[in-house]
């Protein structure tokens, strides 16, 4: 079969799923370079040919930004990467990012017809392949609507804000993003480690948006530097995607010992401030043993970072079981390959320090699974008399975040729910009609792609809102 001819269904079914080339585990635990190396052209084309081009297209339903996956794969299969890139650019503002960090196994690939018998098409890896191809080839910029004359402010330059900004710019609006930190990217920059999402990828995605005419102003903390009220006076509409904010701690004795971090601080020191580089001026505590409390993607990022910073033992301590862990499958697989230890059904009760105030051990208690709780997962119940000490020098709490009140506290008419998250209607609209919101500040903690989905949907609603207002 020649790769340029359209294969028959039988031929498509005969192709096995590609394998992602990776840096060997024993090598990558000593550096911060990307783990996945990306598919080469031949492999990508063959993988795309596995798509059956089925009529129902369930994969598209599974994509929060609604990427036209079968069309996109068809172009790759036909080696027309420029056409594939055009589809990608029109549908997804951050393709190099989502191709790397989306939980595809729960979204597009979960619904892929080929997955019913065997392995689904590797949609995420192909998305990354085309996004990276775009970076190396000059592609025509996405086509943009005529200037609308409307000005829209976007609060936060994380995945939700960047996606909304891109979508709004394509629709002809003049967009300004306000970012609190000194560089754009939000959680992509401070949270996700270099070995999963290199900083140059974020720089590139942001540069693409700037090329579309999006203005970016860093060091603007909305709620302090500017209020939502001031923004409403200066812009025709606003999208708030300022993220989750405040870290949760375990609320156990000893949590203020030196060597104890929130995942936010630990990862920010390493990612945003570059503490993994020898010459960095930002230090981070390193120990022979690091224990991370939690079982989500942030916990995986933290524990794999600790391993790379030199911890001989880097341990996940999770209060539920392996099946209940919310982390993405690929991260768990990579962590295991890297020698991360998993302790399931344990919960910290106390952190113990030495005479200088440094952490020396964690007291953990064993748990067993009881009745399902509100999340549908079985609730962990402590086992009496099961406490034990785990010597460690660094501990990281990766147990979630709560809404940051900085912005909402200075926007008196913005309606919040009981957890302090912003209330929105089905149009992503807040109680202030010209103010829309999405991502973690609405959802209270989710994923990059869900924030992007909100950004894209909200941008369309904002577009409707502005044009309805203009014609009214």
């Amino acid at each position: 079969m020649s790769t340029t001819e359209t294969p028959t269904a039988k031929e498509r079914m005969a192709i096995e799923r590609a394998a992602m080339p990776e840096q060997p585990a024993e090598e990558r635990v000593r550096n911060f370079n990307e783990v996945n190396l990306g598919l080469v052209e031949e492999v990508a084309v063959r993988e795309a040919q596995r798509c059956l081009q089925c009529k129902n297209r369930p994969c598209v339903q599974g994509c929060p930004v609604g990427l036209r996956i079968p069309e996109f794969l068809e172009k790759i299969a036909a080696r027309d990467f420029a056409a594939a890139a055009e589809i990608l650019q029109a549908d997804n503002a951050l393709p190099a990012t989502t191709g790397r960090v989306c939980p595809q196994e729960e979204q597009c690939e979960r619904l892929c017809v080929r997955g019913k018998r065997g392995e689904p098409v590797a949609i995420g890896w192909l998305e990354r392949f085309v996004a990276d191809w775009m970076a190396e080839h000059a592609t025509a910029p996405a086509s943009k609507a005529d200037p609308s004359g409307f000005r829209v402010a976007v609060v936060g330059s994380g995945p939700g804000g960047l996606t909304a900004a891109g979508e709004l710019a394509l629709r002809g609006h003049e967009v300004t993003i306000f970012e609190a930190l000194h560089d754009a990217g939000g959680v992509l920059r401070y949270g996700i480690p270099e070995f999963r999402l290199p900083k140059r990828i974020i720089d590139r995605e942001v540069a693409n948006l700037e090329a579309l005419g999006v203005a970016l102003e860093t060091n603007v903390v909305v709620g302090r530097t500017l209020t939502i009220g001031q923004i409403r006076e200066q812009f025709d509409a606003c999208f708030i995607a300022n993220g989750a904010g405040l870290p949760r701690f375990c609320n156990i004795p000893g949590e203020n010992l030196k060597g104890v971090y929130s995942a936010n601080e630990y990862l920010t020191r390493v990612n945003l401030m570059g503490a993994y580089r020898y010459e960095s001026r930002t230090p981070v505590a390193r120990g022979t043993t690091t224990v991370v409390f939690g079982g989500g993607n942030t916990a995986m990022d933290s524990v794999r970072t600790a391993r790379r910073l030199g911890s001989e033992r880097a341990i996940i301590a999770y209060r539920r079981g392996r099946e209940e862990m919310p982390a993405r499958a690929e991260e768990v697989k990579h962590a295991q390959e890297e020698g991360i230890e998993f302790m399931f059904l344990v919960s910290p009760t106390e952190l113990l320090g030495d005479e200088d105030g440094w952490l020396r051990a964690a007291r953990l208690q064993r748990m067993e699974l009881g009745e399902p709780d509100a999340s549908g997962r079985r609730r962990p119940v402590p086992v009496d008399g099961s406490e034990f000490e785990l010597p460690c020098q660094v501990a990281v709490a990766a147990i979630g975040t709560k809404a940051n009140p900085l912005l909402t506290g200075t926007a008196p008419n913005l309606q919040l729910n009981k957890w302090g998250n912003i209330e929105t209607n089905e149009r992503h609209q807040t109680s202030l009609p010209d103010v829309f919101a999405g991502g973690d500040i609405v959802r209270g903690g989710a994923t990059v792609i869900l924030a992007m989905g909100d950004g894209k949907a909200a941008a369309r609603e904002i577009d409707d809102f502005l044009r309805e207002g203009a014609s009214a």
Binding site: A180, H182, E255, N256, N264, M273
Partner: protein, 276 residues
């Protein structure tokens, strides 16, 4: 980029800079701070906004050059620029009508104290400022404070200016006399100084407000690195503070946490001096 309009050495290793940051100048209130990076390689350094001119769009910062990143801030000349100035951050000071107020400043803490003392005086309080330093050149902002304070009392450790000893001796005297005893005390300086002040005012239960400067990264509540225990509860200095009821602060914990990166900074400092 944020243009540096003015830079002068105020005291040994202490510089005063005027920086153009119109959004900050417009929004800031006394007691708030900014996070500054002189260049890409720098740490994020929290600095109190010592003064601001909203019409000019400028803020005044006082920085003590103690590490790589603060030295770099101090070394940017007029006409140069800072890469980042983010803020204003933290809660503004709650300026009340106390009556008589003592403002106690140690070393570069006097620069943090300055906007508070000014705002308290403007609100009609009788402000006595007690400032101290190692020796005469280390005592800063004396004349500027004298412009609006009822009294400015100076102490130096070597007696080269004002009374020999610590600021706490002056405060003790004020507290001992009903005619001079303040209704409120504001203290800003090194942790041992603030701790000594709150111990002095505790027996008479004189309201004492301290401004804390713990280790901080983002300054917006995101990292929790600046957590301090106040009245048995964990607070984030960047969003819940930086000012707290001094009698409720766990200073021993704060002092321990502030030394977290002592060794790292020694290593980095040695590296910096080698490459300089």
């Amino acid at each position: 980029m944020y243009e540096v309009i003015h830079n002068e050495e105020l005291a040994p290793e202490v510089w005063r800079l005027v920086v153009r940051a119109p959004r900050v100048a417009d929004a800031r209130k006394p007691g708030q701070f900014v996070i500054v990076r002189a260049s890409e390689a720098c740490e994020r350094i929290p600095l109190t906004i010592a003064d601001a001119d909203a019409d000019e769009g400028t803020i005044t910062l006082v920085v003590q050059a103690v590490g790589d990143s603060t030295r770099e801030i101090a070394s940017v000349p007029a006409g140069g620029a800072m890469r980042d100035v983010a803020g204003p951050l933290g809660r503004p000071t709650e300026i009340e009508q106390w009556g008589r107020v003592a403002c106690v400043g140690g070393g570069v803490g006097t620069a943090v104290l300055f906007p508070l003392a000014k705002a308290l005086a403007e609100a009609g309080n009788a402000v006595t400022t007690l400032i101290g330093g190692r020796s005469e050149p280390h005592v800063i902002l004396r004349d500027e404070l004298a412009a609006f304070c009822e009294d400015v009392r100076v102490t130096t450790e070597d007696g080269s200016l004002g009374r020999k000893g610590f600021v706490t001796a002056e405060l003790e005297e004020m507290l001992a006399d009903d005619a001079t005893c303040p209704q409120a005390v504001y203290a800003v300086g090194p942790v041992p100084m603030m701790k000594a002040v709150v111990e002095l005012t505790r027996p008479q239960a004189v309201k004492t407000i301290v401004s804390l400067n713990p280790i901080m990264v983002d300054g917006t509540g995101m990292c929790g690195g600046c957590r301090v225990t106040v009245g048995g509860e964990v607070k984030f200095a960047c969003v819940d503070g930086p000012e707290f009821d001094g009698h409720a602060v766990d200073f021993d914990e704060l002092s321990t946490r502030q030394r977290t990166y002592e060794e790292d900074y020694c290593r980095l400092d040695a590296q910096f001096r080698q490459t300089e």
